[in-house]
Symmetry: C5
Subunit: 360 residues, 5 copies
């Protein structure tokens, strides 16, 4: 629900000296990929001191940090590469809304990565990116899980545009991987909704409404992530700092288009969920109506009959053993069969009445 990390209210805005470590966060692991069109170096970097400076030698450097558990590392990182403390603070205070903020020396991008874990549960994780002229620093919330493996494979394979274009293209490729990961999630959600639709139409159960509620929350969550990511794509498309090249912008338009399609799907699904909720409620109402109809029919038929047989169970003649004058039918041989007939007629009459009313 509330997954926003925040500094104590009233505390100073981030300076490099005041970055603090989030609780329970894993120790950061750094991995550097350095490449140009012809060569590729990929290595783990144990400490900040081992990091190269980002010189303008035509090589692209992607520094990927997983885990937020040591504020000093980020402090040192910020100092080394001139990353703005406010941006670094946002990278550590996870639960940010996706956004793009231009700083003097770099663009700062926050995105929310969504994927399914090994039990097919949807998980989220914040990815912060610092895009400079020839470098990209990415900071991930969790260690060991991300959606970037296909991108890494493309870099290693060295085919396609990824080795020829700059850090901005790499940034686009990661963003695109994050965005496109919504498609399989929405696909399975769509399948689940189709099934639920049949269930609500045919056998509405109390569990349906809880399932619908859960899907609704998932959709709201996705929407909260994708909607601002659309703005991030748009902001990158209209970037004027020169850090995003026109070639990359053609691809960013494609990524933007994907966010629009995802939003479109989310809206359809939300519509469907609220339609199903409505149908479920109407089905419950209809069912109550049906149950109560059975009750009414049973009661209307048998309560009067019970009253009638009660009449003939009264003791209105006892005491002297003679036949009372006023209940002569009790002592006629035709009395009992006639009564049975009358009661049958009454029941049939009621059944006909209920049939006319379309209750039966």
């Amino acid at each position: 629900m509330f997954n926003k990390r925040y500094a104590a209210p009233g505390s100073a805005p981030a300076t490099l000296a005041t970055l603090t470590t989030p609780h329970e966060a894993a120790q950061p692991a750094m991995r550097l990929i350095e490449y140009d069109g012809t060569s590729l170096v990929e290595k783990a970097v144990p400490t900040i001191a081992d990091l190269p400076t980002f010189t303008d030698d035509g090589r692209i450097r992607w520094l990927d940090i997983e885990g937020l558990g040591d504020a000093e590392i980020f402090q040192a990182l910020g100092e080394k590469y001139g990353l703005h403390p406010l941006a670094l603070e946002d990278a550590l205070h996870t639960g940010q809304r996706p956004k793009m903020e231009p700083y003097e020396k770099h663009l700062f991008i926050v995105a929310q990565m969504v994927y399914r874990d090994t039990e097919l549960q949807m998980c989220g994780e914040q990815v912060s990116m610092f895009l400079g002229h020839n470098f990209l620093v990415t900071i991930q919330e969790e260690v060991g899980t991300d959606v970037f493996d296909p991108v890494r494979a493309r870099i290693r394979a060295g085919r396609g545009s990824i080795r020829k274009l700059g850090a901005d293209y790499l940034c686009y490729a990661l963003l695109d991987a994050i965005i496109d990961h919504c498609f399989p999630i929405l696909e399975s959600l769509g399948d689940a909704l189709e099934e639920l639709e049949d269930e609500v139409l045919e056998h509405p159960q109390a569990s349906c409404i809880a399932t619908l509620h859960r899907h609704k929350r998932t959709l709201a969550q996705l929407r909260r992530f994708v909607w601002p990511e659309r703005d991030v794509c748009n902001a990158l498309l209209h970037d004027e700092t020169g850090l995003v090249s026109p070639q990359t912008k053609v691809f960013l338009r494609d990524a933007y288009d994907h966010t629009v399609q995802i939003m479109d799907l989310i809206e359809s699904y939300r519509d469907l969920v609220s339609g199903l909720t409505e149908m479920y409620l109407s089905a419950v109402g209809m069912r109550t109506n049906e149950v109560i109809r059975v009750l009414t029919i049973m009661s209307s038929i048998f309560i009067p009959l019970t009253f009638i047989v009660g009449i003939y169970g009264m003791n209105f003649d006892r005491g002297d053993g003679t036949r009372p004058l006023n209940m002569p039918e009790l002592y006629q041989p035709w009395g009992y069969p006639l009564l049975l007939l009358v009661m049958l007629a009454l029941s049939v009459g009621q059944i006909v009445f209920f049939r006319r009313k379309k209750w039966l």
Copy 2:
């Protein structure tokens, strides 16, 4: 529900080399219509190699491809005519939102064609168009079904503007055919809703809500298609590449106007559907009320009577055969008739009471 085809998340954006064939798609069939004001050639084209180059000789060439089942053909096509790989990818990844995207050498238009099949079911199919200076390439999802036959007939007939104006007019004519096909669908939907309205007002049934739900989904679907097609028309109207001539723009304004009218109708229908849903729910509530009223009246009348006859069925004098002092009415000749009268009075009283309450 989820009908969007998408590449594996994280994979490289389309290059000609990486176009892949969608599953289960039919083998593409190509048909070329070449015409100018005076002559017309129409032929099937078996392979890409048989395709002419699109020279600027005043003739309009419409290459219509049905079926997406062979990525290599599209790759070859893209290379031959300079179609952008990202656009070709969108043509293959069906389920796109309608859109217009300008590329360097052509406009790329995606539309969703809606028609009714032989069983009058509504079907959809993606049509992608590449509009160049004197050519139009259309790529359709399905083989053999489209809504373009009247346009082909107009080209063959050679009357009207279609043979005199350029590829942009042809593109408009196809778009207009797609848009106008919503009218008969909306017309029959309108008729269905009118009938349903009478049914809900007079004999609300459980099936109504499912029908309403289905219509709502149809409307949502149409809306998802037509709303962005309005933007496509608008984008073409304000095209600045020069590929759309001012003469064609007058007609595009008409097409734009049709999308506005369709949206207007869809909104009215959506309003009506939600109004009918509300009415249905209120009718179910009203019916439950009616059923429960019958139950209450029957119970209120007969339960007390049954209690009374129960009193006189008690054995409060038995054992010694003498008349008990405290139930003397049991042994009077007027006892039984009086009781019947009392019970009749009680019933009548209740009926009067219920009539006053307008329950009867």
Copy 3:
């Protein structure tokens, strides 16, 4: 519901040669009023050939055509006065959304006239206007019914501005007459809603919801007509072709203001209708509650009593004629009165309980 006429999808957009006659439309009747500040000629025109050319002699000419039943007449008309075929097509294809479209030689305006027929039913009819420099051609859907008689009377009377100002003022006067005709309709609708409000508050009936639904549809219909008419006024206010003079624009601002007021009223009424629907539903719920309360009270009081008298109707002593040990109260003179007292106490206790719960 669906009252839009449309050409077969895919057919060529209108050319003068392809205008077709709508089904069941009446034969067009033409009437020409020619006037300037001092003189007035008013005559029926049997054929197109009898129509004068619209010369620039300072006289205003209003050609009013009622009935759409002969496409050839409109074709001839279009040729004679240079009316655009797309506009003429819209005039014949009734059910258009009100709009204003500038063409080269004239403005084309579509409006929807709303009035009440002799049985006070609301009817609609499309009016298309071609406003040129010194002429106005109006095309009405139906013969013999319109809301323009007061305007004709003003022309004939020759007082006021109407004879002094141009065709644009005449166009405004007709538009204003169409718009202002919504006021009496809204007035009677308002009265009907007030009555309905009392009914829903005091005696909600099943018919209320149907009436509310009907009013809602009327309001939706009016809204669909008036909302775009506001845009028409606005478009005329900001016309830059010079066909609308500044003097007329002052009056158009007034007409625009009226559309805003009408929309304001429609929105209030829609709010009221949905508020009444809500109240009706809550009243039905409340009523069900009341009915079920009566049932519960009756059952709760009498079912236990019936059980008690049932106990004393059991035969637990029969067979040997001796008083059973375990039901001694049956044979005491105080047995029966005591039982009656106990049952009375039980009933009173329940009534007190129900009163405390505010159910009684």
Copy 4:
């Protein structure tokens, strides 16, 4: 509901000659206040002829007319001071939406004054203002009731800015008085809603929904008045005719701010009203549930017991006076106590069951 006065549709827009008197309107009473920084003259003006011309002598003249019952007076007024006939028509056709319209010689402002009468009922009244260079003409719908007395007192007292600044400041002061009169109304409405909130939470009654409906209509009414008054303030703030001085604009910003606050409160209240409606509905549903739960518990406990005692009331041995073989328990001394025990156990079992289900 419908409180808009309007001319017959199709009639000529207002000219001075065609102003007509509204029905049942009171005879206009005119009162002139003439002041500058040092002197003040205040007098009733019996006829138009007695009115001074509005010369540019540094004195401010406020002509306040109450009552609309004599069109000729307004006609004469319009001629004397050059008030535009369309504006005068709007002043007479009450029920206007608040608006500000610039005319050549004056600004025309319509506002809706809201106050509570002697029985604390909310009333509305239209106030039209003509703001010229050094004069202000106000036309009120009703005689004798307005909210301007504090402003008159301020003029008479001669303190503060009102005597030093121009007619525009006077206009602001009146507008401000109209706007600020919404605060006490909203205050008492807020109190009423607080009380209602407690009532709905604790003892929901059928009258609540009618009260909520009434409050909702009051809020809708206020909103219809205040929303466009915000636009009036804004239009005056951005007036470019020079009739509104920069000093006054600082104060108008304050008035604008008040309209925003009022709208804010109205929106909060509307939210609260719809929340309360929802709560009321849920309370009714909950109550029905509670009632039906009592019914079910009573019936479930006593109906089976009644059946059991019925069994032992059957006559399955009568006729020969011998004990039947199959109902031996009837003739045992332990029969009756055992049966009572069994029935007690049954009841207790059910009570336990219902407690588990949390129905008790």
Copy 5:
């Protein structure tokens, strides 16, 4: 509910002479903090006369006034520092909507401070700020409670930017403290909603809806405060008076970002609250359905059985002691066991029927 203080409608807008004291407001207490990069003076100021003039000596002066109970003090303050009377009036008339207004000599900012008191109840308090070139005057509604202690601590500590940057940064720091105080409130609200979600899903109770209503009001309240505070940040970001330096603007962008995140959370929570309300309603409906199903099953099984045993309780043979011809089963040894079997079969049949209907 209604917590807006306002002057009597129609009274003169604020002049220094007319400021009035709000009822029950505490006596103002003034505290001055004067600092620059190197030195810091902090002292209570007993009277206005003891206040220094705000000279341009590079020192920042923060005058913090708590309590509104003496209008004369504010009047004197206004005169001393040239604070605009309209702004001072807004500071005294608490319940303002947050806003930023530029005046000639200072910016005027209203914010609503939200915090939790010692019993963890949410409280609000208005804070008004006058930001000048090198001074900041803050006026708080209540004495002794505010959220500024961390900021005061930072000033005293003298670390970070706060002692180096100007009054605008101090103003930002206070605003930021106010905004960030929403995070812990939203955090605990989120936890409460999570718990409530479980409760509604598992054991919906009547108290849930009241709790939901209370949370909804809290959210509406927060929204009313934070939404305009976002505009305040934005207005300060785009300030053109020069009172806000570019360095501070970078931080204000961060504060703005926080308001966006808070709004985002509030919207999610509102969505959740309305989803939970819907679920609660559906749970009540489902529960009624369940209750009524039990009733129907019990009644349907036992009412017919009671009728049957009633038949055999009738006295149709009494009087002469002979076995009647028509009820022979009464006198057979197998009569009673057979009847029991028949009744058992009937019950089992009904149970099977109800199981098929999934009612059991």
